[in-house]
Symmetry: C2
Subunit: 291 residues, 2 copies
């Protein structure tokens, strides 16, 4: 595959800001990314507005929208005009009372070429996602783009080696993780450091274990009780951080991705060769006490 | 479970040194570990001698020994005398022409209480392990010790999130990885840094993803074309390195392990709760092109 250039759009979305204003800013960032040579853009998780899962309020399910719908139209128009591919994250309305946390892949003609519904759904204080999002049922997605095969996963998925592996086995060369992760004001500096370090480290481990490129795009800024920590990053198949966003500023990160590095790394460390697929059945158990 | 203390025995085993001399040193290290309060000791991979897999030579299969056999007798005697548990690594002779890279768990009465046969077998220049070792067929092992449930994996397994997960699902509270990993003299400083960093990082990721303690015990010193990089380490369930050995000196690392931290971490980040066991079937495929 050819070398390509990816862009990670890291921004704020304050609870008081109207959707039109956020989209206008994202559009400016997309234009900047394009001007800097990017060919594949990725948004943060639920980029159109604030992270609305901090309270359980059924009225907020009104934020869900059909796919295709307003957000894929917005992204599709941008993709077509700029001739870029876009991984976008949105709140999908599938049926009354049935909503998903969904990533879409828009091709450079503006068409909806791929869809992934978040498989692992968290539920922690201030991240009441099990209330809003039905677990995905589309499985693991890698979409053949112009320059690379693009895997899509979302936020909480990033803690699961299973998700990265399964998407890599679909042929993904770059894994994109639109993300919304932050600190709560009650956490100690030591806790904050540990959390952010663990978060970065898991992405690097996915890159190494699978010999693939990994990108995470996280939001920044204070929203009610959460302070999103930014730090969007691109990681090479050897686990090295190629570029990393700030913790508190909006930023368009642009970097080159060479899919050729994948085979180079995998020849050096041929982990896929030696997997014990005859002995992995227990991975489909909740816990080992059933066998 | 009660708090416990583990010891990691990191040493050299020069190709010219007789087995008796290596064992005498390991015995001294075990006594030191015991004197410093250790209750669970772990050896490096194939600790009784040099890493013999740098060339393919069928005569070296003579190094394999039965289990129980001389090495488990040596470890059992030490365990009984010092009232410690020991994870040991050795070359197991199972039948003529059938050999394994095996980890054993000796209980504090000196009995052979657990056995794991390395599941993932590497084969790279200077690590011709597929020639010497039949892939294991005992599956994933967690042994109930006095203070903690002990998981055993060996070296190349450390690159496989599947192995850590499966052993954690067996209830392991501490994962021990006897290891033999090093640099080849032809590698650049940048390659060396990347390799060692990736190696440490994978262990930390296993700790985080599973919310368990992880320990790796690696050898040091030059043996023919390889320079083993030491760096034995204990990692807590949050992914923090609790202690780390030097790159070039023999060392007994002793540190406290609190199994109570496991539940604390897993309540904060309840990854086991949200695994998509209905959607992991593809992990048993070699690659996704078969579906």
């Amino acid at each position: 595959m050819a070398k390509t250039v990816v862009a990670l759009l890291q921004h704020a979305a304050p609870p008081t800001e109207p959707r039109t204003s956020v989209l206008a800013r994202v559009e400016r960032m997309a234009r900047e990314a394009h001007a800097r040579g990017a060919r594949i853009l990725c948004t943060q998780e639920l980029f159109c507005g604030p992270y609305f899962c901090q309270v359980e309020d059924a009225a907020r399910m009104d934020l869900a929208e059909p796919v295709p719908g307003p957000t894929t139209e917005f992204l599709g128009r941008l993709a077509r005009e700029l001739q870029v591919e876009i991984v976008g994250s949105l709140y999908e309305r599938r049926a009354p009372g049935l909503y998903h946390n969904t990533a879409v892949f828009m091709d450079a003609q503006g068409g909806l070429a791929g869809r992934y519904r978040k498989m692992h759904i968290p539920d922690d204080p201030r991240y009441y996602e099990k209330f809003y999002f039905t677990p995905g049922d589309l499985g693991w997605q890698a979409v053949a783009g112009r320059d690379a095969k693009v895997g899509m996963l979302v936020c909480w998925d990033q803690w699961y080696p299973e998700a990265a592996r399964l998407t890599a086995l679909q042929g993904a060369e770059i894994l994109f993780y639109p993300t919304a992760i932050g600190w709560w004001h009650g956490e100690t500096p030591a806790d904050r450091r540990q959390q952010r370090e663990a978060w970065q480290l898991m992405h690097r481990a996915h890159a190494i274990a699978n010999g693939i490129w990994v990108a995470a795009v996280n939001r920044v800024g204070r929203e009610d009780d959460l302070e999103f920590w930014g730090g969007s990053m691109l990681i090479d198949p050897g686990g090295q951080v190629v570029c990393e966003g700030s913790q508190d500023r909006e930023e368009v990160l642009v970097a080159e991705v060479d899919p050729g590095r994948i085979e180079e790394l995998r020849r050096g460390w041929p982990f896929l060769r030696d997997r014990r697929i005859d002995a992995y059945g227990g991975l489909m158990d909740r816990y080992g006490d059933l066998r």
